[in-house]
Symmetry: C2
Subunit: 223 residues, 2 copies
């Protein structure tokens, strides 16, 4: 019994692995590369750590394209982390910057080259409500509305990549719009300055004009 506990504790007993678990605590899934940057180690190092966490079923992985999204497998790892944290001598105030970044990522972010997060999910749902996209597999039903909005639908259609498909959003647990069409929509939204991409992260800020425009043009309320 004690041997097993020691082995499990060893998974938490490394600064890098503890950072990985801390980064995943809120239930989001992050790519290996994002975790490497968050923990300030190379991709090789983070890969080795993720492998160990994976083998112990502390985390789960889901491949999505060339990314591999890692998340905590269940609530047990988080509970153990918290039980250990209460034993930590000094209680450093939870990094405000860190949590601010996490919050902004949840609000809106890029996923590859399309919009994700709360805004991405809401926009996709608005497209479905307006009949622009079909509810199942996000087929484009009404190209004219997007074209008149300035989205280069034709170019997106000529691209060899997937035209439009749903992509599971990890912070919202719902789908947002991916594929060439999703990329074209994001491009247009940035062009209009309805969205502004953060330089150092995947976060995207919705401007006042963007919030207003999304509501009036697509009936999309960002809450």
């Amino acid at each position: 019994m004690d041997a097993d506990v020691a082995a499990v504790a060893g998974l938490f007993a490394d600064r890098t692995r503890a950072s990985v678990i801390a980064a995943l605590l809120d239930g989001r899934a992050l790519t290996a590369g994002e975790l490497a940057r968050a923990c300030d180690v190379t991709a090789a190092t983070i890969s080795a750590h993720l492998r160990r966490l994976l083998e112990a079923d502390l985390v789960a992985v889901e491949a999505q394209g060339r990314h591999r999204y890692y998340r905590l497998a269940d609530e047990r790892a988080g509970r153990a982390f918290e039980a250990l944290a209460v034993l930590a001598p000094v209680r450093p105030v939870r990094s405000l910057r860190q949590s601010r970044v996490a919050a902004s990522l949840r609000a809106a972010r890029t996923c590859y080259d399309h919009l994700a997060g709360h805004a991405g999910v809401r926009l996709a749902e608005a497209f479905v409500s307006r009949g622009i996209l079909g509810p199942d597999g996000f087929p484009l039903l009404d190209p004219d509305t997007l074209t008149s909005f300035g989205v280069d639908v034709g170019a997106a259609g000529r691209s060899r990549r997937s035209f439009a498909h749903p992509c599971l959003d990890w912070s919202e647990r719902r789908h947002h719009l991916a594929g060439a069409l999703g990329a074209a929509v994001l491009t247009r939204l940035v062009e209009l300055e309805w969205l502004i991409r953060d330089r150092s992260s995947r976060a995207v800020r919705v401007t006042d004009a963007g919030r207003e425009g999304l509501r009036t043009r697509f009936g999309c309320e960002l809450g």
Copy 2:
């Protein structure tokens, strides 16, 4: 934050230290030597581990004579241990033998050379109830009853060691009788075969005759 968690987790991430915590989980306090035997390492090794656990405030120590009793400082360490244990892959059945030994130690055991555990505490309380011992500091008020019972009170009085004093009982959180008088009482109880000492541990078994005798002679109910 993650660095601190890693450091704390490191305390659990060693087989020996995990065994120490597991041995203390039920709230009992054990001596350094007992822990060394339980973990199958030398006294030097256990001492180093206890030092680390002590500096992290995971355990607390109380010196009692030449023994040093270690116990978990509070419930946090136990909670963390359990949170880690639920992550351990296989769940080895809790050793029956181990828990049987623990139960018998709680029932009755020797502490140095006197009786401790449930039986020790109950007997001391019975002595106080009967006016044999005073309630404060356990002074011997009625030597005759013990002498007629066969306890060599005279020899105990001539010993240079402390004659009679209360000793905090870790499993009962009450006091039992220590000192030369306590040793003399234990000697007599074993002599009468009211108690039988285990060969390999500090456990003491109360015989049927002992249970009966303690009740009729001293009004001591062992529950």
